[in-house]
C-alpha cells in the first residue's frame, strides 16, 4: 500500500526504502527550500536504484553521475548516441529516426536516437559535472525539456520536438543574425498510456518550484532544465535605469519570462548571456521593461 508521496516526483510508493523507487530522491532528508520558494532537488545518492518496468537504473558517481540501466528482455530505452558510456555485448542497439532531419541538423540537434533493448546492462553519462534528475511520468503526463539536457527515456515515453518560440534577430550592416537564447527547439516527452521514466542531466545543482496560476518568474534562458507544458514562456527584455541610458539604444538584459500554473526546474550552471543591443529587428512575442 502506498504510504509515501515523493516531494520531488510526486509519485506514491511504500516508503520502505531510503530512496524513492521512481526517481531515486532520498526519502530521509528534509526539504531544502530557499526563502524565495525554490526547492533544491536533492542529488540522487550514489548507487541508488530506480525501478521501471522489470528493469532497474542505478545512479553511480557524484561529480558526473552515470545512469547504469539493467534492462530486462522486455524493456528498451532510447538516448542520443553521444551519451553512451559502455554496454554489454548482449544489449541490442539500433537507431530510431526522427522527423525533420534538416531542421534538427541546422539546430545542432542529433538526427537519430539510439535504441537499446535488453537483456543486459548499458550505461550513459553526460560530459558536465552536475546531477542526474529522474522525472517519472504518469500516464497522460508530459514535460518540456531544454535541448541537450536529455539523457535517456524508457520505451513508454514518446518523444516530440517543438519550436521553442523564443528568438530575436539583429541587423549588422546587410547581415541579419538570428538568436535562440533557449535553443531553436524544446524536447517534449509524453507518456501516453503507461508510466515512463525520463532521465535528464543538469550541469550544477537543480532547483524546482511550482508556479501558481498567473504567477511569473524571470530566469536565464540557458538555465532552464524542464517545465510542465502548462507553463507559458516568452522573451523578456529589461533596460536598466540610471544615468547611462540612451533610450532603447543601450544594452538590455535578456530573460525568459515564465508563468504558471506548473513546475519549473532550473540548473545553476548556465551559459553567459549574449549582450543584447538596440539593433533587434525581429523577435518572437516579447515583453519589456525600462527601469
Amino acid at each position: 500500500m502506498a504510504t509515501y508521496t515523493c516531494a520531488y516526483c510526486r509519485q506514491p510508493s511504500e516508503g520502505a526504502t531510503t530512496t524513492c523507487p521512481h526517481c531515486g530522491a532520498p526519502v530521509d532528508v528534509r526539504a531544502r527550500v530557499s526563502d524565495s520558494g525554490w526547492e533544491e532537488q536533492p542529488a540522487i545518492p550514489d548507487m541508488a536504484r530506480i525501478q521501471f518496468g522489470r528493469s532497474t537504473c542505478q545512479i553511480e558517481g557524484a561529480y558526473v553521475p552515470v545512469a547504469d540501466m539493467g534492462l530486462s528482455a522486455d524493456d528498451w530505452v532510447y538516448f542520443s548516441h553521444h551519451v553512451l558510456l559502455w554496454t554489454e555485448p548482449s544489449v541490442r542497439m539500433d537507431t530510431m529516426p526522427l522527423a525533420g532531419g534538416w531542421n534538427r541538423m541546422y539546430a545542432g540537434m542529433p538526427l537519430v536516437m539510439m535504441r537499446a533493448a535488453g537483456p543486459g546492462h548499458i550505461a550513459l553519462s553526460h560530459d558536465d559535472p552536475g546531477e542526474t534528475v529522474a522525472v517519472p511520468l504518469a500516464p497522460g503526463q508530459a514535460v518540456d525539456v531544454r535541448e541537450h539536457r536529455f539523457l535517456v527515456a524508457t520505451g513508454a515515453v514518446e518523444y516530440q520536438w517543438l519550436d521553442a518560440g523564443v528568438w530575436y534577430a539583429t541587423q549588422n550592416g546587410d547581415d541579419t543574425e538570428y538568436h535562440y537564447p533557449l535553443g531553436r527547439f524544446v524536447d517534449r516527452f509524453h507518456a501516453p498510456s503507461a508510466p515512463g521514466l525520463l532521465l535528464l542531466h543538469a550541469p550544477g545543482n537543480v532547483f524546482i518550484r511550482d508556479l501558481q496560476q498567473g504567477q511569473t518568474i524571470c530566469v536565464q534562458p540557458s538555465a532552464l532544465l524542464y517545465k510542465d507544458p502548462t507553463v507559458g514562456m516568452q522573451l523578456h527584455l529589461e533596460y536598466p535605469g540610471g544615468a547611462m541610458r540612451w533610450g532603447r539604444y543601450m544594452t538590455a538584459s535578456l530573460w525568459l519570462r515564465m508563468w504558471g500554473p506548473g513546475r519549473v526546474a532550473v540548473h545553476s550552471v548556465f551559459e553567459r548571456p549574449e549582450p543584447v543591443g538596440g539593433n533587434i529587428t525581429y523577435n518572437s512575442p516579447v515583453t519589456s521593461k525600462s527601469w
Partner: protein
C-alpha cells in the same frame, strides 16, 4: 600481528590506519560496486597522505584535486609540464625525451616529459572536475593509460607509449592514436591519473568482453586487448557507423564518466 588489507591496492596496513598508507584509499568505507560489476574508485578524503619511496603525496581538494608531492632526497617524479601547479623554488626540473617526436606531435601528445627531483615540494593538477586515481604498481606490471590522463609517476616506473593499431583517432576522442604505457621492472612504483568526472574499474575475466565509448576509456592492464568494434548504426546524414572500444579480458579496465566524445 593483525593487518588490514586495502581493497583497492591490496597493500597491508596497520590496524589503526584509517586510510591506506600506499594509495590513500579510505579503509573504513565500504566498497561501492554497481549491480553490473563496476567498482567506484575510492574517493580520497581531502588532505589524505600516503608514502612512496622516501617521499609522500598529499591529495588536496575534492572537485579538482591537487596532488602535492613532498619529494625525499634521491626521489624524483615525472609528468607533463603543463600540469604543474606550484613548486618550491629550489626543486630542480629536467626533461626526458619520450622519443617518436614527430609522430607524437602529430598525435597531439607531448614528446618531452618533465622530471622534478627531491628534496622539496611540487604540486600538480589537471583542469577539470574529477578524481585523482592512485595506482601503486607492483614490480613487473604494465598499465596502458589514455593520452593526457597521466598526472604524475615515480621515477622507478618506465614510460613509453604504444600505438593503437588500426584504430587511428577513433579511440581517443579524436585526440591521438597513442596510449601511454607505464611499466615497472623489479621495483614498485606509484602512478597517479586524473579521471574526468567519476572513475570506475572492472576486472574482466579471461575472454570476457565489454564495449566502451572510446572517450570514456581511462586505463587498462596491458593484458586486456582493445579492439575497435564498429556498430552497424548510422548516427547522422553522411556519417559512418559508430565505433566502440571492445575490451577483452583478462585484466582491469578503468573508465571515466565525463568523457571526451569522438566526432563520428
Amino acid at each position: 600481528m593483525e593487518r588490514i588489507q586495502c581493497q583497492w591496492c591490496k597493500a597491508q596496513n596497520p590496524p589503526e590506519a584509517k586510510t591506506c598508507e600506499t594509495c590513500g584509499a579510505p579503509l573504513d568505507a565500504r566498497n561501492l560496486v554497481t549491480d553490473s560489476g563496476w567498482r567506484e574508485a575510492p574517493r580520497l578524503r581531502d588532505m589524505t597522505e600516503f608514502a612512496f619511496g622516501s617521499s609522500s603525496c598529499q591529495v588536496e581538494g575534492e572537485i579538482v584535486p591537487v596532488a602535492e608531492m613532498n619529494l625525499g632526497d634521491g626521489d624524483s617524479v615525472f609528468f607533463e609540464h603543463h600540469i604543474m601547479l606550484w613548486k618550491d623554488e629550489h626543486v630542480p626540473l629536467s626533461s626526458i625525451n619520450t622519443g617518436g617526436g614527430m609522430k607524437r606531435m602529430l598525435g597531439g601528445m607531448p614528446f618531452v616529459v618533465t622530471a622534478a627531483h627531491g628534496p622539496g615540494r611540487i604540486a600538480f593538477s589537471r583542469d577539470a572536475t574529477g578524481e585523482v586515481v592512485v595506482l601503486p604498481l607492483h614490480p613487473s606490471m604494465e598499465l596502458d593509460v589514455r593520452g593526457h590522463s597521466f598526472l604524475v609517476a615515480s621515477h622507478s616506473i618506465s614510460y613509453s607509449f604504444v600505438q593503437i593499431k588500426g584504430l587511428a583517432n577513433v579511440l581517443h576522442g579524436g585526440e591521438g592514436m597513442y596510449m601511454d604505457r607505464f611499466v615497472t621492472q623489479d621495483q614498485p612504483g606509484l602512478l597517479l591519473l586524473h579521471g574526468y568526472g567519476n572513475v570506475f574499474e572492472r576486472t574482466l575475466g579471461d575472454g570476457e568482453r565489454i564495449l566502451v565509448e572510446p572517450g570514456g576509456f581511462l586505463y587498462k592492464d596491458s593484458s586486456v586487448a582493445m579492439n575497435v568494434a564498429q556498430q552497424n548504426i548510422k548516427t547522422g546524414l553522411l556519417r559512418h557507423g559508430m565505433y566502440l572500444a571492445e575490451m577483452v579480458g583478462p585484466g582491469r579496465v578503468g573508465i571515466q564518466s565525463m568523457y571526451v566524445h569522438h566526432h563520428t
